[in-house]
């Protein structure tokens, strides 16, 4: 604690959050799938660093555990599953999108403004040193959601989903210094299982339609 004053700590947390947001934009701008996964790894590492920083500043130890789990699950295991899926379905680049990259980036910018606008009345009510990150967390959630809508391939949709989860994690850390450890554990487990299922499902999708384009699922309608 003696190294940093509270002010400096708060600034550092904001910096970490900003880096997270930046990686979000990078993911939205990126067309190559494997690069998307790499960027997601980077984002998760930033998230883990930010969380550890919060843990260090506040002295709440269970956030360390959550940060370690973030590294293990989101930076190691899930990327490996996703890379395998990409290998299997043999799709390297995403060429068609529902919204093209420049428009997408503009919409994301608008979403960030929206997030700041929404959280503006709430933030002054908080007293935690992480409170400013709440707006960024909400922005990340919205951008993750937007990615799921904008992209057509199952793999990028999974990444959008995972980005959303990162945003939620940041939000929980920002608003309440993290959720109880048992909840975090449950969330990580869900995430892992979810990714596994979506991975298997992408394989099946590839086998059935020769593509992982989820808009092809429209044909399942009666």
């Amino acid at each position: 604690m003696s190294l940093f004053s509270i002010d400096v700590g708060s600034q550092l947390v904001d910096l970490g959050s900003a880096l997270l947001l930046l990686t979000c934009f990078a993911i939205v701008a990126q067309r190559r799938l494997s690069a998307c996964v790499d960027l997601f790894v980077l984002q998760s590492v930033f998230l883990a660093l930010t969380a550890s920083l919060v843990a260090f500043l506040t002295g709440i130890h269970h956030i360390y555990v959550a940060a370690a789990l973030t590294i293990v699950v989101k930076a190691v295991i899930i990327p490996r599953i996703l890379k395998q899926v990409i290998e299997h379905v043999n799709v390297k680049r995403e060429l068609e999108m529902n919204v093209n990259v420049p428009t997408g980036l503009l919409i994301c910018g608008a979403l960030v403004i929206l997030a700041f606008f929404i959280t503006q009345p709430i933030i002054p009510l908080g007293f935690l040193l992480t409170r400013d990150s709440l707006a960024i967390a909400l922005a990340i959630v919205l951008i993750g959601f937007f990615m799921m809508i904008a992209r057509k391939k199952a793999v990028t949709q999974v990444i959008g989903f995972l980005v959303m989860e990162n945003g939620l994690f940041l939000g929980a850390t920002a608003a309440a210094y993290g959720m109880p450890l048992i909840v975090e554990l449950g969330v990580f487990f869900d995430l892992l299982v979810g990714t596994l299922i979506i991975g298997i499902y992408s394989h099946r999708l590839q086998d059935a339609f020769d593509s992982v384009d989820t808009s092809k699922l429209t044909t399942l309608k009666e």
Partner: protein, 675 residues
């Protein structure tokens, strides 16, 4: 009491769990499931009687971690009475099932049937014992679902699936209204416990009370089968295996009667304007009359019985409705009499309708058809079934010596007491209801004369009937048990009335058993002995004595009996089953008289011989009656909803991205609203 309750729950649970433990051995599954259900029935009878006899309501409850839910059980006289009724029919149905389900070996899963059967009985028992709104809704829903699965036992048939779906939808429409009823009570009570419903912190406003009354009538009425919510009965009850039909028609629809009494007299404290009772009376009269009229036209024995259940629910509601009218004018003794009559008819109907459905099941078991036109002459081949069916038919037609007579007589007496009412309108309306009830009674008599006559008398009309054999002993015991009760309840009102008085006492605040029972209990006299009274046991004794006297006289003065065995004279032609009355023909006059209601379509096509138009080669006769309620009420409703759904399908484009976009837009809009 605790021991009995725990025992009851434990046996039913064992009956649910154990049958699937013997895979591939239907005989053992059958024995285990229905044997345990029989045991539980016995325990239930004792529990019900104990609950009726203890002076104070017996309660037990366990809290749960789910908000608003507590596993509270309360056995007051009203609940105990229904526990008793359910257990009696449940016991008979279990014994009957031991024989009946042998028919299903190799076709359906006996383990599933047995487990569901036990679960169904358990859920019904819990419905009447529940003392918490949440618990009530859970077991009520469980009852609906389990009975749905039992209805679709023979799901390979399309009409069974249709019946199941119809039932499921109607049951859930009803449940929706019940939920609303309970929410109205919850608003003022702040808790789902029935105790809080009874004594809310603030009394419900008048509008809310009226709303609760109507919601409960629709919600529980859908289960009880009041007109026009009765349409599912003639589909679902025949589709189920017969021992299930006996339970559904005999007892399940009575749980709705229980709930109506509970809501009106317990939660709403028996304080209501006169028109509530009048509405119930109106619904009862309509149901009774239309129920029996449609029953009359049915040639499918089980559908006939299902329609007849609509009629009997109507009679029960007549008693209750009259009671409610008297209650709102402060004539408590008459109110108690109305309720007593309604409750008496409730247990009676449970007994004879259970019996008749089992009889129909026996006929189905022996002749493999439900169509009465293919029965005939079965009395000679199935004497025991015939006897029991006759007892049931006599009871349901309200003929003396059996139970239906006593309770219907009491309903009549209640209605005639309207001359004590201050309002002229009601003074007129109640006797009109009594007149319509009389009409109902006559039509019911015709209906069951037809049911018994067409099935058991004359010559067999098909090879099925010719090859029918008497059913296994277990099925006969099941029917015999209920037949004994039918007669017993009719002969011993002096035992039944004081027991029922224990229920109506707390509900209306007065005890009437001393007044109703005259001459040390040997006679029933609702007002006083001079005005009208009747003594069922004496009547029975006299009837039997007259019969014996006739025999005696014939024996004394008739000379020696000469036995001559010869064919019935048939104007010189050989009598065959083609010369018999058909079931359709039997009710033809009534169909003509009430053609406004039936709106029959008759089609007669004749194909003549080419040589001469005076000789018909073939005749084809078609006859339908218009299902008025389905055509003018339900079909437009269904069309409306299907049309709406078609239009809403535009939203359901099948695109994952579109769905995600829906969620996203909703989220953003909500967030913006929150700012």
């Amino acid at each position: 009491m605790t021991v009995l309750l725990v025992g009851l729950l434990a046996i039913y649970m064992a009956g649910i769990i154990l049958p699937p433990c013997f895979p591939g051995r239907p005989r053992i599954q059958n024995l285990v499931a229905h044997g345990l259900a029989t045991g539980a029935g016995l325990v239930g009878i004792v529990l019900g009687l104990a609950g009726l006899l203890v002076p104070e309501p017996w309660t037990v409850s366990a809290e749960s971690t789910i908000p608003f839910l507590s596993f509270a059980i309360r056995l007051d006289p009203l609940a105990s009475f229904f526990v008793l009724t359910i257990s009696l029919v449940g016991l008979a149905a279990s014994i009957f099932a031991l024989g009946y389900v042998t028919e299903f070996y190799g076709r359906s899963s006996i383990a599933a049937m047995g487990s569901l059967f036990n679960g169904f009985l358990l859920s019904m028992t819990l419905v009447v014992m529940a003392d918490n709104g949440f618990l009530f809704l859970i077991v009520w829903e469980l009852m609906a679902l389990l009975s749905y699965f039992l209805v679709v036992t023979e799901h390979e048939k399309a009409e069974v699936r249709y019946a199941g779906l119809f039932y499921l939808i109607m049951a859930h429409v009803g449940t929706a209204f019940i939920v609303l009823t309970f929410l109205i009570f919850f608003q003022e009570a702040g808790s789902f416990s029935f105790e809080a419903f009874r004594h809310p912190e603030q009394p419900l406003p008048e509008g809310m009370r009226t709303l609760a009354f109507l919601m409960a009538l629709v919600g529980f009425g859908a289960k009880a089968g009041i007109v026009p919510l009765h349409v599912w009965l003639p589909y679902a009850h025949p589709a189920a295996p017969s021992h299930i039909s006996a339970l559904m028609s005999g007892v399940m629809i009575k749980t709705a009667i229980y709930a109506l009494l509970r809501v009106y007299f317990d939660f709403l404290g028996g304080q209501f304007p006169w028109w509530w009772g009048f509405v119930v009376l109106l619904v009862g009269t309509t149901s009774a009359l239309l129920g029996v009229m449609y029953a009359l036209m049915e040639n499918d024995l089980k559908r006939l019985l299902a329609f007849s259940s609509v009629e009997n629910v109507g009679i029960i509601l007549l008693g209750i409705g009259a009671g409610m009218i008297f209650q709102s004018y402060g004539l408590k003794e008459f109110a108690a009499l109305g309720l007593l009559a309604g409750l008496y008819h409730t247990i009676n109907h449970a007994m004879f309708k259970g019996l008749l459905f089992m009889g129909a099941g026996s006929l189905l078991y022996a002749a493999h058809t439900r169509n009465m036109e293919e029965y005939g002459g079965l009395l000679r081949r199935m004497p025991w079934t015939g006897l029991f069916f006759l007892v049931g038919a006599v009871s349901i037609s309200a003929l003396p010596l059996a139970n239906g007579f006593v309770s219907e007589w009491l309903v009549f007496q209640t209605l005639f007491l309207s001359l004590k009412l201050p309002a002229l309108f009601l003074k007129l309306m109640l006797p009109i209801a009594a007149a319509l009830l009389a009409l109902t009674g006559v039509l019911a008599l015709v209906c069951f004369a037809k049911a018994f006559g067409m099935s058991f008398l004359a010559l067999p009309r098909s090879s099925h009937a010719r090859h029918a054999k008497e059913v296994p002993i277990a099925m006969r015991i099941g029917m015999g048990f209920l037949a004994v009760w039918c007669v017993g309840l009719g002969l011993a009102p002096m035992i039944v009335v004081p027991l029922l008085n224990r229920i109506t006492g707390p509900l209306t605040g007065v005890s009437i058993s001393d007044k109703v029972l005259a001459l040390d209990g040997w006679a029933l006299a609702p007002v006083n002995v001079q005005f009208s009274s009747i003594s069922p046991p004496m009547l029975a004794a006299m009837l039997i004595a007259c019969g014996l006297l006739g025999l005696f006289l014939a024996f004394m003065f008739g000379g020696r009996l000469v036995t001559r065995s010869h064919k019935t004279w048939g104007c010189g032609i050989n009598l065959s089953s083609r010369t018999e009355y058909t079931a359709t023909g039997f009710v033809q006059p009534i169909k003509r008289v009430f053609s406004t209601i039936y709106q029959p379509t008759v089609k007669l096509e004749t194909e003549f011989l080419e040589e001469s138009r005076y000789f018909a080669k073939r005749r084809r006769f078609e006859f339908h009656i218009e299902p008025v309620f389905q055509k003018y009420l339900y079909d437009p409703l269904v069309d409306f909803f299907v049309g709406m759904a078609d239009r809403l399908r535009i939203l359901q484009a099948g695109s994952l991205h579109l769905y995600l976009a829906y969620i996203f837009v909703t989220l953003v809009v909500l967030l913006l609203f929150a700012v």
